[in-house]
């Protein structure tokens, strides 16, 4: 067991990790999110699917306030994210995020990418952080890349390092923003494998993805979003085998 959480393989319905109520977000006159409400439980893996421009990424980025919600309430681990007065940095330590374009720190090697936040935020001493970092690199299969710079890695390797970097802060929640969309097809598998393992180990995960196979296999729940609202949600079985909403049916027809 390398990550936090004691093998809570199924969602713990008694513990709401993320509570979202009536979330809206506008960029100028463009209403990207038009009232989203959902609860995400401890250990649950939620996949968010939907067409481009449906607001999936914005929804995800509101959870750790990389985007500030226009209205509505977001509570993560008991902290009201929408509250201007909370110590946002403290809350973010507990929410890992993985980006479509990896965003590894280009001025540091892989090891220092993983050590920066734990050491800088005094979560660990240098030695502890290094030990954790090396262990995490082993889990994602990149022990030999500790001294490499991001520019020397392939896309798949970068994304696995990015996942390890987020895990180095031992977060309770992991957000994935289209983690495989910028990868060559042959590298998608290695990243999904790491994510699957993470899901098995009981991490609470919100994954915005176009990988329907992953969603079907790993998700506890799938949200289908379009035009800023959740049109349909349910188990992967319900969504993929018997979708109800015509828009969902149409979308799945196109992508499957």
């Amino acid at each position: 067991m390398l990550w936090k959480g004691d093998s809570v393989v199924t969602a713990n319905k008694n513990n709401i990790k993320i509570h979202i109520e009536n979330l809206t977000k506008s960029f100028g006159h463009n209403k990207v999110l038009q009232g989203i409400s959902t609860d995400i439980y401890e250990g649950e893996v939620v996949c968010v699917i939907g067409p481009s421009g449906s607001g999936k990424s914005t929804f995800l980025r509101c959870i750790n306030r990389l985007e500030t919600a226009t209205s509505g309430e977001i509570v993560v681990d008991g902290y009201r994210i929408s509250d201007k007065k909370i110590n946002l940095n403290k809350v973010r330590e507990n929410i890992g995020m993985v980006f479509q374009h990896f965003n590894l720190f280009a001025n540091m090697n892989v090891l220092r990418n993983l050590m920066l936040a734990p050491v800088d935020l005094k979560k660990a001493t240098k030695e502890e952080a290094k030990e954790t970092a090396l262990r995490l690199l082993e889990t994602v299969g990149l022990s030999d890349k500790a001294d490499s710079f991001p520019s020397q890695l392939s896309g798949g390797q970068k994304q696995r390092v990015a996942i390890a970097r987020a895990l180095a802060m031992s977060p309770d929640i992991m957000l994935f923003d289209e983690p495989t969309s910028a990868l060559d097809p042959e590298m998608v598998g290695e990243v999904l494998a790491v994510m699957k393992q993470l899901a098995k180990d009981g991490m609470t995960m919100v994954v915005v993805t176009h990988e329907m196979g992953f969603a079907r296999e790993v998700a506890d729940r799938v949200l289908f979003m379009d035009e800023g609202v959740i049109l349909e949600e349910g188990t992967p079985e319900q969504i993929f085998s018997s979708p109800k909403h015509p828009r969902t049916i149409d979308f799945l027809d196109k992508v499957l």
């Binding site: 973010r92 995020m97 965003n103 720190f105 280009a106 001025n107 936040a117 800088d120 935020l121 802060m169």
Partner: protein, 225 residues
Amino acid sequence: MNQILSTYGPLMLSAMGQTLLLALCGLFFGCLLGVVFGLASVVDNKVSRTISVIYVNLIRGVPMIVLAFFVFYGVPYGLRTILGVKYTLTALQAGTICLALNCGAYMSEIIRAGIQSIDPGQMEAARSLGLSYWRSMFRVVLPQAIKNMIPSIVNQFIITLKDTSILSVIGFPELVNKAQNVIAITFKSFETWAIVAVMYLIVILALQQVANALERRLSRDRKQK
């Protein structure tokens, strides 16, 4: 030529010393201003961004020779007639203020552009891990930005060094000012200006060499670390 060099060489060398002194003072405070206003122009705060824009546009919109006259003659005169305060600046003080204000405005633009050239994803990734804005800036964004800025910064150093010659108009005893004295005595303007030109050239080429070495070193460090 020989006669000028042997008679006025030491004078011109010491005048070059004054030029370098003024340039160093101007660059030092100019860099400080540049960093402050450069950072002020990228933070998420309308007031600080506006102040920065006003400063940059104001300085860029006024020729430095006008600024020099204004600071050296205009401001003390204004203080005396309007506020009744007697205060005068030495030529070095006024020169430093002019150079620093001027250099600072251009430096702040170099720093702003350098920071904005870094993918915003770098800042987002650092923030998502719980690092504060300034920690993310100093640990992640700036180290990358500075490397991109170096050629522009070196360029600005050279421009500022040459701009010291403008301050001959307020009587600061730098190289151009002294050269004019030499010509007034000897009438040998061809030789004198040729010597002055070569002196500037040598100093600036030397500065360029130092900068090149620094740049090479930084890019080598990057690869090795």
